[in-house]
Symmetry: C2
Subunit: 334 residues, 2 copies
């Protein structure tokens, strides 16, 4: 049962009394008589043989593995994407290897190179920070998909959330509730910037003045932003670049005796799992992570027609962190 040294198909062939080719066929579903198949199966079981994927991959030129590189393992969104990828790979008997770039271009490059040297059949790069030339030099003409990145100077298809649409939905919801003075707590990364730009655009289009508070996209960024928000007391609502910021904001607001949503309405972005359990449950924009994962996988496998860039629609999730502003439509600074 326990292997001494390396068990190979030769051992199996031996104990089954057939050739290695036959064993290979048995293992891969080739033309085989039922009797020999049984014999081989027995031998495999008896020996506890496990095939060596390296050798197999070396000769077939395929590994059945898709490499996935995420910014960090910590994000629930990436986890959802991973599930989506799994959804399409598993029925195909394929697997994926997950690596993290730690939001660092150097590490991302190393991880990507590693995956490529691993001879992965395809590459899904999520939130890549590498420049277009770096990417092309590294990946060459291997199948790759860039997720959370807008169409680029790269030859690879991209898949991204329509951040503009999400921001617009959030703001419209706020407008419908009577808000006009809506501040934005901005994020730092690609997505954050896209959301900020959309926010500014929508505000201007509505004849309103954007007020942007810089932040680092984390809970503590949200907490810090609360202080900055105190300098803009006429704001009746805040659109946060993501849920984590909203969480930090909730916390700081509570400390300052500001009630959500009575004193200040809040909208998040992402729809992380804990959002609905907050007090009040957070109104937010959902990013369909799992679906994005599925799409990315199908794109990289070439199952879906590869258009230059695909974007998926976010969905507004209305819960309880938005209500009408206190004095109806506020006119001028207090």
């Amino acid at each position: 049962m326990v292997s001494r040294r390396n068990l190979t198909i030769l051992d199996v062939a031996h104990t089954a009394g057939v050739s290695t080719a036959t064993v290979s066929r048995a293992l891969n579903g080739g033309k085989i008589s039922t009797r020999t198949l049984l014999r081989v199966d027995d031998a495999v079981r008896k020996l506890g043989y496990q095939r060596n994927t390296l050798a197999r991959g070396l000769v077939t030129g395929k590994t059945g593995i898709v490499g996935v590189c995420v910014p960090d393992v910590l994000g629930p969104l990436y986890a959802q994407m991973a599930r989506g990828i799994e959804d399409v790979l598993t029925p195909l008997g394929m697997q994926y290897t997950l690596l993290t770039s730690s939001r660092d271009g150097g590490r991302e490059g190393a991880a990507t190179r590693f995956l490529l040297e691993q001879q992965v059949d395809g590459l899904i790069l999520i939130g890549s920070q590498l420049s277009a030339p770096e990417l092309t030099a590294l990946v060459g003409d291997r199948p790759a998909v860039l997720v959370q990145r807008e169409a680029d100077a790269t030859p690879y298809p991209t898949l991204s959330l329509d951040n503009a649409q999400g921001a617009q939905a959030a703001l419209e919801h706020l407008f419908e509730n009577g808000h006009r003075r809506v501040a934005h707590i901005a994020g730092v990364r690609r997505d954050g910037r896209a959301r900020q730009e959309a926010y500014e655009g929508v505000m201007r289009a509505a004849g309103l003045t954007p007020v942007v508070i810089a932040s680092d996209s984390t809970e503590s960024g949200g907490t810090l932003a609360a202080a900055a928000l105190a300098d803009y007391p006429e704001a009746t609502a805040v659109f946060c670049s993501n849920d984590r910021v909203a969480l930090g904001l909730y916390h700081a607001l509570r400390g300052r005796g500001v009630r959500v949503p009575e004193d200040l309405s809040v909208v998040g972005f992402d729809d992380l799992p804990w959002g609905e359990y907050l007090a009040p449950p957070l109104t937010t924009v959902r990013q369909p992570g799992r679906e994005m994962g599925r799409l990315a996988a199908r794109l990289v496998l070439g199952e879906k027609a590869v258009t230059e860039s695909t974007s998926v629609e976010p969905e507004l999730v209305v819960r309880a962190s938005v209500c009408a502003p206190r004095g109806g439509d506020p006119s001028l600074p207090a």
Copy 2:
């Protein structure tokens, strides 16, 4: 720059005017004259050569990869462990491949087999659900570490959190605050069971009656548990099997007008990132995920003396979800 078909070291050898052996040596830091090293480097760069790890692994019998299998990617704790593993692997020029078992024995078996066939140098199985015989049959004598699993009938070292100690710390904190009627919302998995047993033991040792509410370790489990808790109104505190349950409990309690901690003290387990931002900030037991990851990696690489089983100490994180019960020490049911 962009490879036509497969670029091999033969191509490199060719353009550098040396043999493949020399190229190999140059790539791996063997004895080489500086001049040829430079020539090879140039050729590599010029061609955009990337080594084929499969071939390399096939001949060396090592891949430099540690396989990691986690119950689900969604858990922040697993993410922290992954970071810990990375901490020790990266400086060694090694990598890890992450796979999920989706808390399903079948999928876990498949994932493990896949990693093994991948010829990983070691295996870190987190929260494995497989039985000892299944595990031994599958893994054989390859280096493996079982995380979040107590010492077993398996030949592999285990690494687990001292759940008993964590439960004890939580309960002692509650006792010190004057609580006697402490209920427990139990979890379903290994860890949950260990915590429940510890809870029961500590309660009995203190001459108190354990009250256990079954749950599924998720937010909705916590929400449901709130209803069950209504049948035990004399409880002044609840020890939750994890933070997610505590979150759901918070939510349901709020709906019922029960204040935390004034009406009911709550303690969680795990210390997930959002705990400190809740209202009130959650007192909980921290699981040192990153450190566990580091330990697991060192164990699997054989850097650390392999003792049969290692356990790491949890740490009580006191925040604001515990205070003295309302009427001091409650005596009898209402």
